[in-house]
Amino acid sequence: MVRTVHDPELPYLTVEEMGMVRGVSLQEDQIVVSLTPTYSGCPATDVISEDIEKAVRAVEANAKVEVVLSPAWTTDWILPSAYAKMREHGLAPPEGRSADRAFLMGQGKIIPCPRCQSKNTTMISAFGSTACKAHFKCNDCLEPFEHFKCI
């Protein structure tokens, strides 16, 4: 059931593909879904939490979502299947591993345009429409696009 829940900000991805579901366990007759938020202040987390509870309660009434903050979520946990879907929807997926600090700060990192694959792109702003995205533009096809920040 948890697999059917989608991220409200990225509706073409499930919370499982986002790497947010840490596990599902049975604790004294209660189903407990462990969820790790992507950003501290992501407003989608509350909605996701409610959606998961709703989905699980459709089959088992005694269920709850437990928020797990440690270890902290990282883009490294996003499943490979999500990357292709992001590109299809015009969102450039995270590049590289989060442990690389240069990647974290976008230094020397090339983000290919998800539309024309050109590597000739420029960051317009490190802050995009949601906490997890940065704003880029492609210097070849001239389209603006969003990039899922690598954290």
Partner: protein, 252 residues
């Protein structure tokens, strides 16, 4: 470190991030350009998210039936223990950016320590997430300092004035009281003297690139950690808290 001091240390982390997050959120819809409006609002969102995590943790630890909302909306000005710098009015864009610049350098270094300490795994978890967010906040404010300082004569003069105006609020970051001292001895909180060195390096490097002067250290403001605030905090809290205090069961 007593249990009470431990909870107080977590609450302070929540107070710092909530108060600055609330201040910054007032920029939403008023940013000088669209990208900047989004950047300031995103930063506010990160900070308020961090506050929620710290408050939820503090509430669970004190186990007195309070939750994050009770801690945010049903405590009075004297109960808040944020640094004074963070409660100051936004001023003009330069004032806001300088405040963000001073705090981000401090918070970033503080989170580096908190994410690595082994005394409290839950604090470390919140801090390791917050640390990545603060990297962005720091980078963003530092780039603005350089752009404004090394920009036009007017932007240079304005941001230099902001630095002078806010400088006396930076000393409080590094003045350890009993909670800081106990936290340091227990391994939960950083040594504020060492933090001052790394903060100085960050600030000095950036000011130099920005062709801005570092003010002389003089008399420093203090009192936030003891709940002795400027009048600004009370007005800010009044506005922030009025709805839940008037209609305690309100929901949407």
């Amino acid at each position: 470190m007593t249990e009470d001091q431990h909870i107080q240390a977590i609450l302070r982390l929540g107070d710092d991030t909530l108060v600055l997050g609330q201040r910054l959120s007032a920029w939403c819809g008023h940013g000088p350009i669209l990208e900047e409006d989004i950047a300031l609002s995103n930063t506010a969102l990160d900070l308020i998210g961090q506050a929620r995590n710290f408050y939820t943790l503090a509430a669970a630890r004190e186990n007195q039936g309070r939750d994050e909302d009770k801690l945010a909306f049903f405590r009075s000005d004297r109960d808040f223990q944020n640094h004074l710098l963070l409660e100051l009015p936004n001023g003009h864009f330069g004032d806001t950016i300088v405040r963000q610049f001073f705090f981000s350098a401090f918070a970033l270094e503080r989170y580096v320590f908190l994410s690595r300490q082994l005394m409290d795994a839950e604090v470390a978890g919140i801090a390791s997430k917050a640390l990545k967010e603060l990297q962005y906040h720091w980078e963003h404010s530092a780039q603005w300092i350089i752009r404004l300082g090394d920009g036009t004569e007017e932007s240079h003069n304005k941001v230099q004035q902001s630095i002078h105006d806010l400088w006396s609020y930076t000393g409080e970051f590094f003045e350890a009281d009993e909670v800081d001292q106990a936290g340091f001895e227990a391994g939960l909180l950083p040594n504020l003297e060492l933090l001052r060195d790394t903060w100085n390096t960050r600030i000095d490097d950036c000011l130099q690139k920005a062709t801005l002067q570092r003010p002389e250290d003089g008399w420093m403001q203090r009192g936030g950690k003891q709940g002795i605030h400027s009048e600004h905090l009370s007005y800010m809290l009044a506005e922030m808290q009025i709805l839940p205090r008037t209609y305690p069961d309100a929901s949407w």
